[in-house]
Amino acid sequence: MAVKRYIFALTLATLLAPSVTSEGQAINQERDKYTLFTMPYNMRPLTLYRGELQVYAGYKFAVRTQSYNSDGDVVQLKNTGTGSVYHYYFVDLKYGVTSFLELAAETNLIRRGIRSESASYIATTLTSTDRISVNKLTEVKGLGDILLMASVRPPIQYRWFDFSVTGGMFLPSSKYEPKQPTNSVVTSSTAANSYTINYHYNYTNGYGVVVYLLSASAKMSVKKFSAEADWTFKTPQKEGKNIRWEETLVDKAFSYYDKTYQYLLSDAYTLNTSLHYQATGWFDINLNGSFEKTNGGWTEYWGNKYTNPETRLVTLEPGFELQISPKLTIYQVAGFPLKGKNSDAPFYLFTTIKFSNFPFLR
């Protein structure tokens, strides 16, 4: 009998000894947070968990070597020297109020310069050759509007299917009126009547009016594979007013005045469809197809309203999501334009870092 008691005690000690060690190393709540931080894409719902805060910081470097004309044909911009690059930065703040309601705020900064084809005008006389060269640069620089969003999803645990609806608005917080041009005239040091005119237009970033956003997303996962689709619609609240700078060149000196004009932004539609493969718990590779379209809207020129051209762009975006630590995740996407109309066709690399935390959960 005593032997049985001791065998029982030994068995109990055997079972308890490692469990004391392992339990002693973890706090339940911390482990839960860790589980939520490291939840793979194929097991995550479309919105954040309750109390979760995410901060995204991203940078997109786009190389605009070609564009699509109104017939959908490719125009090689780099061959004419009018290719350009643009730098786009964005920050996004998201918070899970509950596990089925998420609030978000987002803004961006853009920097790009578009060169037009240079032109020269030559006047040859018996004694000299005078040349007037003209260069034109259109610069876009500045902070974008602030986008506020709220997303809801069904209050059920995500298993294999999810959907969400997002509503939001762009607040016209940015300085959308263009700054006065900084044109210049550079006189030739070798020929008195030869000079170069550099037109430099300074545009800003922002809509100038409230723009509403409505979006719907759906997601489905089967084992390590997932598919996600989202559709987004943006429309302006009302017509807007802006200024357009006019210039006069007299005796190699520019004078400027501005004129007010009205505009109505085009409606914009975006459809994204992506396929994901969760290679391991911390690495997801994906292929996204994006279709963007704008139509409607008009812009006033000299008292007349001209319809904005309809634009279309189809882009293929292979990418990945890499969890580098429980709180840090990196996303990278490369964009390849496939088809379009009245649109730039940039190749781009978009890198985003995400920081997650549960600020109010100990």
């Binding site: 030994l10 000690a13 470097f61 020297g81 009018t82 690059v85 240079s118 032109a119 580098i324 630590s325």
Partner: protein, 328 residues
Amino acid sequence: MNISFHIKKLIIIYLILSYAEAAVCQTEKQLLPADIKQQTLVTEPVTLKKGFFRAGTLFNYRIADKYFTDSGKKEYYVTSTWGSTTSYNLTLQYGISDRFQVDLITEYMYTLIENQSTETDAATNISRVVEAKHKGLGLGDTHVSFKYQLMQESKRKVSLTGIFNVSLPTGEKNPTNIKDANQYDLPVGDGTYAAELDFFARSIIYPYSFTGFLGYRYNFEGKKITNTTDMLERKFRYGNHLEGGLSANLLLNEWIVLANELNFYHEGKGEIDNTVTPGMPASWALSYSPGLVFQVKKFRLGESVKVPLKGKNVPADPLYVMMIQYVF
């Protein structure tokens, strides 16, 4: 009674052993050669261990969009010109001893400059399109480096490494395939020998590593065609190059490193026919390079962006770098 005493002893011994096992786990792991080959940018030795061989390739890409003027102002290129530079470096590194490493670096260059403008004759109102296309394609210059650990690294101490680098002008130095002033192929090499001496100091404070470096390159005189209209080879010499930098690398997890580097360089005025020329002015740049380096077993993959912050007479565009390395 006797049996129960023995069982009690057994239980006590077992419990002691089960905790002793955990204590044994705290001992320092002995690194095998296979482990050393998998060390990250933060934890690896400054030079390769004896007999280790590392091969790698670097992909560099930059587009000409903005530049720092002579007064240090960042401006766009205003004429309708598209320029890009791509280079593929092949790097071979070998550890001759645990303190001495030799590197061989060569590169394949692809430079493109395209320009188009319209010229209109004011008298006849006839316009013509002027196109210029320059392409530089081919094997560039070669660099041989000898690295020696002057002071070896130990825990929380600083290592000091001296590097002697020789640049060999193996790339084509002259423009080729010249059709006219607007149509020719660009050179892909500097056309001159150069000698460089660098010193690197590094300290590891896990999970960080900090590096400071200072280097000076002396460019020797060379001869090449500097003007495509007269096709004459002239004597030239690039200004000497002083470079320094600070870097702080952080292990984000066991196999990913967040790399940060602040770099400064100054290059003196260049000369053609022993005369200072406006085409080769003195220049300097201060740049910041953030990057991520992934250590996957013996493979190392990295990407970084070198962003010029300030400068004078230098490009102001980011340089994209992708890297793949493997240790044999």
